[in-house]
Amino acid sequence: MAIEKQILVELSGVSIGYKNHQLIENIHLTIQKGEKILLLGSNGSGKTTLLKVIAKLVKPLKGNIIYHYKTISYIPQTKKIYDFPINIINVLRLYYPLFYPKDKQDKEIERVLKQMNLWDKRNLLLSECSGGELQRIYLARALLRNPEIILLDEPFNAVDITNKENFLSILEEMYTNLNCTLIMTSHDLNEKILNFFNKKLYIDNHKLIINQEN
């Protein structure tokens, strides 16, 4: 008997885009717990917009979406941060509730920074971090929330091949520990990346094509 998987997001007849500019039309998609989804498409095809719709940051142009998840995390495209004089540990402190006990915060932050191999660099300013380190900072920030879904927007844009492989192994570890759903956008067709994910979505000519491995 097949085990029924928990559904986290359901999209039916959804079209996304911006005023006068439809990016993807008529999306029918179910996102389940434990899936590893890769979203592929050319630049400007609507990958980031679809992630933002799933994260409730952008409203769809039409269609129905039912959100079943409680916690989600979003890892944005990595851009170098020059102007913020803030170190790694203080960035992670920003997103706690206002009166959350500081000793509890510090314990949780220590745990995720050690997991991301960033504990020794905790006092480094963000402007001094490499692309790979910034990604791990965002991952650490995501981990603090124990999310059911982690959205990753083009995480390989700013990293070299060795860092890509390191990043994939970190993702694998996170996936196993959290038992979460990963949704990542990319236009990189590297074999290791393709093999890591069990469900691939292609955006082609304003349509979303689903390719699932069982």
Binding site: Y74, D83, N87
Partner: protein, 271 residues
């Protein structure tokens, strides 16, 4: 006039306090890349102050309410147009022109222009400067409580939405504090002084700081130093060809602030 420095002590204290708070909020303005919005807001506040001058109304909360009303169309539109800079620039020149027209309608035009754009701190009555106390206490409490959230949405607004922070409420609170500080600053020291304090101390501080805490402290120190030095210089009587005069206070403070900036650029250049 320098020997009368104690006579002007209350004015120096007010100038220092409003400058200090303007430079604190300036850090957020710079980090959020909303300098132009801050400058346009300062022009709408200048118009609000001119209206209160024109109709001889009491300061209190009226300037604040008027300036928010004047700024609402700009704030609402800025999220809906593609070229935000062009909108803000249009708003800036519109409010500058409106301010000048309103001043020309009333009597005593020259004094009102000077007061609105350059401030009239030396001529404030004792009763008037008491108005600063309550707003400053309210602003300080709000900044202390919500500092972390202001920084959180400044750093990554999208993530703040995702983790369900009350982003819209924080935005409203931020603009409320920004307009309250600018209202006080423009009322006492003029719009040019306010813009200078909004931008220069924070830009210098962010260039040389290694933490947010030190950025705030350096911005405050630069602001306080420039205000006190500028004030003192403006009290020195200058005698050129038997003509005695004093430098205008707000403009002298702005010049001292600008010299700090030039010094920073020079230091960076020779590095």
């Amino acid at each position: 006039m320098l020997e009368n420095i104690y006579f002007y002590l209350p004015q120096i204290i007010i100038g220092t306090i409003v400058g200090l708070f303007t430079s604190i909020i300036g850090i957020f303005v710079i980090l959020r890349k909303t300098i132009f919005m801050g400058v346009t807001l300062s022009q709408s506040i200048t118009v609000a102050i001119i209206i209160t001058f024109l109709f001889d109304l009491h300061f209190e909360f009226l300037v604040h309410i008027l300036s928010i009303l004047l700024f609402i169309p700009i704030y609402v539109l800025h999220n809906k147009v593609i070229n935000q800079d062009a909108l803000l620039a249009s708003g800036f020149v519109f409010y500058a022109a409106l301010g000048q027209i309103l001043i020309s309608i009333g009597a005593n035009v020259q004094n009102h222009i000077v007061a609105a754009y350059f401030g009239n701190i030396l001529f404030l009555s004792e009763k008037e400067w008491l108005h600063i106390i309550i707003p400053i206490i309210v602003i300080s409490v709000l900044l202390l409580i919500f500092y972390k959230w202001f920084l959180a949405i400044t750093f990554d607004k999208e993530y703040a939405y995702i983790i369900n922070l009350p982003v819209n409420l924080i935005e409203i609170l931020y603009f409320f504090i920004l307009s309250a500080i600018l209202s006080l600053s423009i009322y006492f020291m003029g719009s040019f002084y306010s813009i200078a304090h909004l931008i220069i101390p924070s830009i210098i501080a962010l260039q040389i700081s290694r933490s947010m805490k030190s950025a705030f402290i350096i911005a405050i120190l630069i602001s306080v130093f420039s205000t006190i030095v500028g004030f003192i210089i403006s009290l020195i009587e200058i005698n050129i060809a038997n003509t005695k005069f004093n430098l205008p206070t707000s403009s002298t403070i702005i010049l001292v602030l600008s010299l700090n900036f030039v010094f920073l650029l020079f230091k960076k250049f020779i590095k």
